[in-house]
């Protein structure tokens, strides 16, 4: 009798756990664990792999965090992330152009990127307020068109720094710019921990933690509360005297600014600035990461960001490595694309709108 009750209890507990954490997350986490167990057997070095995951988490965390404000205000997932990334790239290239070097060039990149992010974010937010209900679609096209426009601008803007322009022509920015001598590893090097093959970029993680904390704190303030309410039921917010458009605009500007900072952090870890079509490929991984983390189209928490980024980056680094070692064929890019797009597709089919 008591055994039976206990059986039911533990069953319920497991069910509760599944409900809380979500079945998809459990499956993905289980898969990731399996990959980590298999890795040493197929000849991949485990500490290196773990460092890889942690590093990639630290590069991408802020870009995923940038999704949070717009999700909260009901603007949906920010497929227009490239716009923010472009602000970041403008900051980065200007910082180099103006001759700043070393870690200080990172600080200047952040400072220079900020006004671009604020202006672009405001225009973008104004646009999204005009087309309520179709935000994600429009956001995608804002991303597309801003990337295309900048493809021309990178060639036309009067940059002169020899480290960035095409060698022969002496003008127009290169597709990839090395950050050696500028801010490569600027954050990662702070308090970095190295044990054998395991290396942890403490500074980058702390920087992410700082911004994540700021976001968490913001959501606990009066304005943050209003933002969540606007996302949850705009009519309710309006009847409570909230200026819905203004709150949405704030969320879009925040998201754009975080994307700008996010790409700078990504670059300092990666060691290169990538221009032209590169920003284009940054939005989807960020979207899928937060969805895997358990966010829905109008609910997202900091935990979703952290869990999602670790799971997503874990899968996209581990799967190709393990597969390549198993079948001795380079499939990494294909697998990465299948996994990340598959995740988005899955998450969007399960998108839950707020109860009406």
């Amino acid at each position: 009798m008591s055994e039976k009750t206990q059986g039911i209890l533990s069953k319920e507990r497991i069910k509760g756990l599944v409900d809380n954490f979500g079945l998809p997350r459990l499956i993905i986490a289980g898969f990731l664990l399996l990959l980590l167990i298999v890795a040493p057997f197929v000849g991949a070095d485990l500490p290196t792999q773990i460092s890889n995951i942690i590093n990639r988490f630290s590069w991408n965390g802020i870009l995923v965090l940038a999704m949070v404000p717009m999700v909260h205000s009901g603007c949906g997932l920010n497929f227009g992330l490239p716009l923010g990334i472009i602000s970041g790239l403008l900051g980065a290239t200007l910082s180099i152009e103006l001759g700043f070097t070393g870690a200080f060039s990172f600080v200047m990149a952040v400072v220079l990127a900020t006004p671009f992010a604020l202006v672009f974010g405001t225009v973008y937010g104004w646009l999204l307020n005009k087309i309520k209900g179709g935000e994600m679609m429009i956001a995608t096209y804002v991303g597309f068109s801003s990337v295309s426009l900048m493809c021309m601008m990178w060639l036309l803007l009067p940059y002169h720094s020899p480290n960035m322009v095409w060698g022969m022509a002496g003008k127009g920015l290169r597709t990839t710019i090395s950050l050696e001598g500028y801010y490569t590893q600027a954050l990662a090097k702070i308090l970095q921990i190295n044990i054998g093959n395991l290396s942890i970029p403490t500074g980058t993680i702390l920087f992410f933690a700082l911004l994540a904390f700021a976001m968490w704190a913001f959501l606990h303030t009066k304005t943050g509360t209003a933002m969540t309410a606007v996302g949850s039921n705009p009519e309710f917010a309006r009847s409570a005297g909230i200026n819905v458009d203004k709150i949405r605009l704030i969320s879009v500007v925040m998201s754009t600014w975080l994307a700008a900072i996010g790409i700078l952090v990504y670059e300092q870890g990666f060691g290169f600035i990538q221009l032209y079509m590169a920003p284009f490929y940054m939005a989807l991984p960020a979207v899928s990461a937060i969805l895997i983390g358990g966010a829905t189209v109008n609910k997202a928490t900091i935990t979703n960001v952290i869990v999602g980024t670790i799971l997503f980056q874990g899968i996209v680094t581990m799967t190709p490595t393990v597969m390549n070692n198993m079948i001795h064929l380079d499939m990494s890019e294909v697998i990465r694309i299948i996994v990340s797009n598959g995740m988005i597709l899955y998450a969007l089919t399960r998108k839950t709108e707020g109860t009406k």
Binding site: H220, T221, K222, T223, T225, A226, T228, A229, S232, N233, E235, F236, R238, S239, A240, G241, I242, N243, N298, K299, G354, T355, K356
Partner: protein
């Protein structure tokens, strides 16, 4: 054979989740007979017609009790298609027409006359082409049956409302098997002349042997065209008589009156006496709220009273609070305590210590996905900076979770909100408890003037009493002036000091709550 009824409804019962809306309805209808169905909003007319028409909503909410017999055969329609096949046609209050199609195309939609083409032999009959000429003839014929003049080639989108209504009726008439036509308030949108034409065509249908169930609020039309009038109230048929024996006054009485002996007891007891200082005055208010247009309202609200606003649905009573609170486009002049209140700005109203409990609980009233704490504290937090802790000299306004919990627990206790705890999500509560949360939200604002719109819509009797008592208590203890809008006259009489009846977007009159029921009834129908 002559005497066998066309339609017989026996002991029809229906409840929505334990809330009885129809009990023991009996209705018989002979060939060519025209029956007028009247009753206040919520009396159960529409539900009864939905049952007859086999609409999905009935089956989804657990079906109905009792039998429906058509030509002495028991029927149980699984969907409106079955009902149509059995010869029942229905014209809804809302148009179901395709705006970009012509009248002909709408009338014959999916029943078009077709011509065979080469492709239809090769593929299937889905490749048939339309026989426009034949279609035009058929459409013209059904329009002729209707006895009105509408252009069969005009697009619906460019037609006046009345003609759209006729197109819909013509569509039903063009069905050969039609035996019974249900008209749900067809004249509400028609001009007097058009209504006249419609009544003529109803007579014509009856002569051709089609039975008609005619739902309307215009009692004179009933008397003009119906053989029999059936009055419903609170889900029962209270009266069924031959039309030649009754008068409009009698019908009104049946519609609004409860059993006569409870007449006096129902009225609010502790009437507010004496000082009648106007606190809110409304002049020439118009509100563009779809379906509840307010045309020209002048209204004075006295300090400390509960003013009721009643009237039939669609006459504009809901538009008044929604317009004043800035949720719909409005114009006119509103002064509160001598100060002019700007319209179209919810924030300014809330700053002037108004509060509003919306009739659209789920759409406007609640954050369904958030906790009760959020729902109750949110407006007070945003408008009055309550439940916030200030850091860095007020730059950071931090949510004070413990103060929020405290106020929520207090209202859960005071209003007896049934919930697990204050963290439960609003969507998990029942309708009545959700309504209490909406009230708590407004109470937490500690307003001087509270608008309450349809506070008891869709909630059960027990919760109704609690909600109304809470309002009365709030009015008495906190000296808050309350303006309450409700479709239920009885409820207004129980709760309010004075009741304004709105009809045709205007105030038809203001009466004390203990005035005769018929007087209210007359006012309700005054400008319809």
């Amino acid at each position: 054979m002559e005497n066998a009824p066309l339609l017989e409804m026996r002991n029809i019962k229906k409840d929505f989740f334990g809330n009885q809306v129809l009990s023991d309805i009996n209705l018989t209808l002979h060939k060519g007979e025209v029956v007028g169905l009247v009753g206040e909003n919520g009396a159960g007319k529409s539900t009864l017609m939905k049952i007859l028409f086999g609409e999905d909503v009935i089956r989804e909410t657990g079906g109905y009790g009792g039998d429906i017999l058509l030509n002495s055969q028991k029927v149980n329609f699984q969907s409106p298609f079955d009902a149509i096949a059995a010869g029942i046609g229905m014209v809804h209050q809302e148009f179901s027409l395709i705006p970009g199609f012509t009248a002909t195309e709408n009338i014959l939609l999916n029943r078009e006359d077709k011509k065979k083409s080469v492709l239809s032999y090769l593929v299937s009959d889905r490749m048939d082409t339309l026989d426009r000429k034949k279609m035009d003839e058929n459409a013209a014929e059904s329009i002729k049956k209707l006895g009105v003049n509408i252009d069969k080639n005009m697009k619906i989108s460019s037609m006046p409302v009345g003609h759209r209504q006729f197109t819909e009726i013509a569509r039903e008439l063009s069905k050969d098997q039609l035996q019974l036509l249900i008209l749900d308030e067809p004249t509400a949108v028609l001009t007097e002349k058009e209504a006249e034409a419609l009544l003529d065509s109803i007579r014509g249908m009856s002569e051709r042997g089609i039975a008609v169930i005619f739902i309307t609020h215009r009692l004179n039309e009933i008397l003009a065209v119906c053989d029999k009038v059936v009055t419903m109230r609170d889900g029962v048929v209270v009266n069924e008589s031959k039309t030649q024996d009754v008068t409009v006054k009698e019908i009104t009485q049946w519609m609004v009156g409860r059993t006569l002996n409870s007449d006096k007891a129902a009225v609010k007891k502790d009437q507010k006496g004496g000082n009648n200082k106007t606190i809110l005055s409304v002049r020439k208010l118009w509100v563009d709220m779809p379906g509840e247009t307010v045309r020209n309202v002048d209204l004075d609200v006295y300090e400390g009273e509960i003013l009721g606003i009643g009237g039939l649905a669609g006459q504009g009573k809901l538009g008044i609070p929604n317009g004043i609170m800035g949720l719909y486009q409005a114009g006119g002049e509103v002064t509160f305590g001598g100060e002019k209140i700007p319209l179209n700005s919810p924030r300014r109203c809330l700053d002037s210590s108004f509060a509003f409990v919306s009739e659209d609980r789920r759409g406007v009233g609640l954050l369904l996905d958030e906790s009760l704490e959020w729902n109750i504290s949110f407006p007070a937090m945003q408008i009055q900076n309550k439940f916030l802790k200030n850091y860095l000299g007020g730059i950071i306004k931090w949510r004070d979770e413990s103060a929020i919990k405290e106020v929520t627990d207090r209202y859960i206790d005071e209003l007896k909100i049934k919930c697990r705890d204050s963290k439960q999500k609003a969507k998990e509560l029942s309708g009545g408890n959700q309504q209490k949360v909406c009230l708590a939200k407004a109470f937490a604002l500690e307003p001087q003037l509270l608008f309450v719109s349809e506070p008891t819509r869709g909630i059960d009797v027990g919760a109704k009493a609690l909600v109304l008592d809470a309002l009365k208590k709030f009015n008495k203890e906190k000296k808050v002036t309350i303006v309450m809008v409700s479709s239920e006259l009885e409820e207004l009489r129980q709760t309010c000091d004075r009741i304004a009846i709105v009809s045709g977007g205007k105030v038809a009159g203001i009466l004390p709550a203990d005035e005769d029921r018929e007087k209210f009834g007359e006012l309700m129908l005054k400008n319809c």
